[in-house]
């Protein structure tokens, strides 16, 4: 009996199936939310039907019976919506969204899934029941999908890349190969006279590689808009649960970010939006009393600002209550050390919640802290702006290039540090007036500059080094400052590796980087360094 070996790669097929299923389900989610706005739009229903049908077809290709049957139920309900024998009301939309979650979980498990779980079967059954052609038209109250507002969502493991971009990458790879071939030839058969040519070819390879690197990094960039729009579901479900009315407005301005960043921001935004709807927005009656529209607006905006991506999450609700925050901060023993602008940052401390009632949605005080850690892990910052009665907005800033930066390497004691090259103004000889100590003031070229001796700042032992050097940096915001280091080691590209949420926030350090030697070097954050040194209350040495 001959064994039939499959002549295709089943793993690859399942991978493609999973990715496509996820895309279809995301499209369907958006479609359902759109349907809620315009329940009679036949084109929206038709598109939903097409997606469900495609999903069913894909499922049959990989012999995923459970998914096929579930998708079929969905199809039938959609057919009745098309026929007009069923009308899409809030209850129906909620049930269909819950069914999308079921389909997602089932698709994720793959064809090995034997059956629906009890809760899943119940959801599908409820959808069936709702989808029965009804007379008279039922006036059921909306059943909010409470079991986890964030549905099971597989992190995106693939991206779409324009073929033209891949073609260019391939060209560059080819050109680099040719150039290197030339170098090899010169090395083996050349003579001293060929040195100039070798240097020239090396320069060409460098330029080609830089272009290739940029293309590879760009390939990882995806528009952030779709992820923003998916948050509409969270807003809808939290609003339903809290008895509020809210709508999500998205302005993505075509901003693209690294695909991993999108995934990491997804949870951050979900946390912040839950908070905005649960705490920020008032109940419809309260809003109307304040001459505001009953439906609150929550807005997410993405934009570029120099070398950073800026994401704003805002609401037009009641604003942060300064009194309550101060009170809570005092209870937690924080208040005494807070300057005015820092008071708002208190909301990011774990266990900080001014909510009277701990709700399912938020109020445990954990959400914002998680969001802050995630943002810091991306080397970003967050700022808060609020106006009582008008609303609150959070501004997240993320550096644009996450992976590789041009770095300026310095040595302090036995450790190596990397400075972002863009912040380096100049290197200079140690001025005669440079004193001892961790901080001080010095004069360089008739300019008075504060200085920081990194040896002291980073807590290295031993006194002043025998030989020192000075690097003048511009931290972006604020005046220049001089860093006193032991040795200057030149420029190099540095691959940035975040230190990770485990470390939390390390003063003055943005991330880590791996040197050519394989050792880890710390990347200095000039703006954070500057900020820490200029905090009120810190005396100049």
């Amino acid at each position: 009996m001959s064994e039939q070996t499959p002549d295709f790669d089943i793993e690859a097929l399942l991978g493609t199936f999973a990715a496509e299923a996820e895309e279809l389900l995301e499209t369907m989610e958006c479609g359902l939310l759109a349907l809620e706005m315009t329940p009679d739009d036949a084109e929206v229903i038709r598109e939903l039907f097409r997606n469900a049908h495609t999903l069913k077809g894909n499922a049959s290709c990989v012999a995923h019976d459970v998914l096929m049957r579930a998708a079929h139920v969905f199809e039938e309900v959609l057919q009745r919506l098309l026929d007009g024998t069923v009308h899409a009301d809030a209850e129906g939309i909620s049930l269909m969204l819950a069914t999308v979650d079921v389909l997602r979980a089932v698709a994720l498990d793959g064809p090995n899934r034997q059956a629906l779980t009890s809760p899943e079967a119940e959801t599908v059954q409820r959808l069936c029941t709702w989808g029965e052609p009804k007379q008279p038209v039922r006036q059921a109250a909306a059943t909010p999908a409470v079991e986890g507002c964030a549905a099971v969502c597989a992190p995106r493991e693939s991206v779409r890349v324009p073929v033209a971009r891949l073609d260019r990458m391939l060209d560059l790879v080819g050109e680099i190969a040719i150039a290197r071939g030339r170098v090899t030839q010169l090395m083996h058969h050349g003579s001293a006279a060929d040195l100039d040519e070798m240097i020239e070819v090396d320069r060409q390879v460098d330029a080609l590689q830089t272009e290739l690197q940029e293309l590879v990094m760009q390939a990882r960039m995806v528009p952030i808009g779709p992820m923003f729009r998916q948050q509409a579901r969270t807003v809808r479900e939290v609003a339903l649960y809290c008895g509020k009315q809210a709508r999500l407005v998205v302005e993505d301005n075509g901003v693209e970010v690294d695909t991993r960043v999108v995934e990491q921001l997804r949870d951050v935004l979900t946390h912040m939006l839950r908070n905005a709807v649960d705490h920020g927005l008032e109940e419809p009656s309260e809003r109307e009393a304040a001459a505001k529209p009953a439906t609150g607006e929550v807005k997410i905006v993405a934009s570029h600002d120099g070398n950073a991506i800026v994401i704003t999450v805002s609401d037009d609700g009641r604003g942060l209550d300064r009194e309550r925050i101060q009170e809570r901060a005092r209870e937690l023993g924080l208040a005494d050390r807070l300057a005015d602008e820092d008071l708002w940052r208190a909301i990011f401390v774990p266990e900080f919640s001014t909510a009277d009632v701990v709700s399912e949605v938020s109020g445990r005080g954990i959400g914002m802290n998680v969001a802050l850690r995630a943002i810091e892990a991306l080397r970003g910052t967050i700022a808060v702006d609020t106006e009582p009665g008008r609303g609150t907005s959070f501004t997240i800033r993320l550096p644009l290039t996450l992976a590789v930066i041009d770095g300026f390497i310095v040595r302090v004691a036995e450790e190596t540090y990397v400075l972002p090259l863009e912040s380096v103004v100049e290197c200079a000889a140690v001025p005669d007036a440079l004193r001892e100590g961790g901080v001080g003031v010095t004069v360089m070229r008739n300019e008075t500059l504060p200085f920081v001796r990194l040896r002291n700042y980073f807590g290295h032992e031993g006194g002043r080094a025998g030989r020192e050097n000075v690097v003048v940096i511009d931290p972006g915001k604020g005046s220049r400052l001089a860093l006193v280091v032991d040795e200057l080691l030149g420029t190099s590209q540095a691959v940035i590796k975040p230190l990770g949420a485990w470390f939390g926030h390390v003063p003055g350090v943005a991330a880590s980087s791996i040197l050519g030697t394989g050792r880890v070097a710390l990347v200095i954050d000039p703006a954070a360094l500057h900020k820490q040194l200029t905090r009120p209350g810190r005396a100049a040495a």
Binding site: R337, N456, A501, G508, V520, Q532, R538
Partner: protein, 160 residues
């Protein structure tokens, strides 16, 4: 019955579930990260990923361990909040892999082990010696500090 890896730090034998152990490395130079507690020795490069390395004996109140010929780093997977974190645990030597049944892990005494109770799952006899079975997630959680500038006593960064 499950398998446990045991290792020695400052004369004491500790054990952790082998399911949490990813690999064991020779000790390598660690890059110190400023403003972290003494027991966080720093970070290393593990095939392109930057991983923290901790010194448990220092965390339990002892001295920083000197590096010896047999010093190793046990790469462990711990649960931190909702994520997995990979952390290196420095040890003087790796001792053995042993099978332990749940019942064999007895409640740790309230004092005398030198290790705070919340870090231990219990104690067990591995061959002839008493090993302290560690609760990986608890013992490897970072020092709880508020992450927000200005809300805790500022680390005296300039001991000028």
């Amino acid at each position: 019955m499950s398998q446990y890896l045991s290792f020695v730090i400052a004369g004491d034998e500790y054990a952790i579930s082998i399911l949490r152990v990813r690999e064991i490395l020779e000790y390598q130079t660690v890059t110190r990260v400023p403003s972290t507690p003494q027991w966080v020795r720093g970070v290393i490069n593990l095939r392109g990923t930057v991983i923290p390395v901790v010194d448990l004996s220092a965390k339990f109140g002892g001295e920083l361990r000197p590096v010896s010929r047999t010093s190793c780093i046990v790469i462990v997977e711990a649960q931190h909040r909702h994520d997995h974190v990979v952390i290196g645990v420095m040890c003087d030597e790796v001792r053995q892999v042993a099978e332990l049944a749940e019942e064999e892990i007895r409640t740790a005494p309230e004092f005398g082990t030198g290790v705070p109770l919340e870090y231990l799952r219990g104690v067990a006899l591995l061959g002839e010696s008493l090993a302290l079975v560690l609760d990986v997630d608890r013992v490897l959680s970072p020092a709880e500090t508020s992450q927000v500038h200005g809300l805790t006593a500022p680390a005296e960064a300039i001991p000028a």
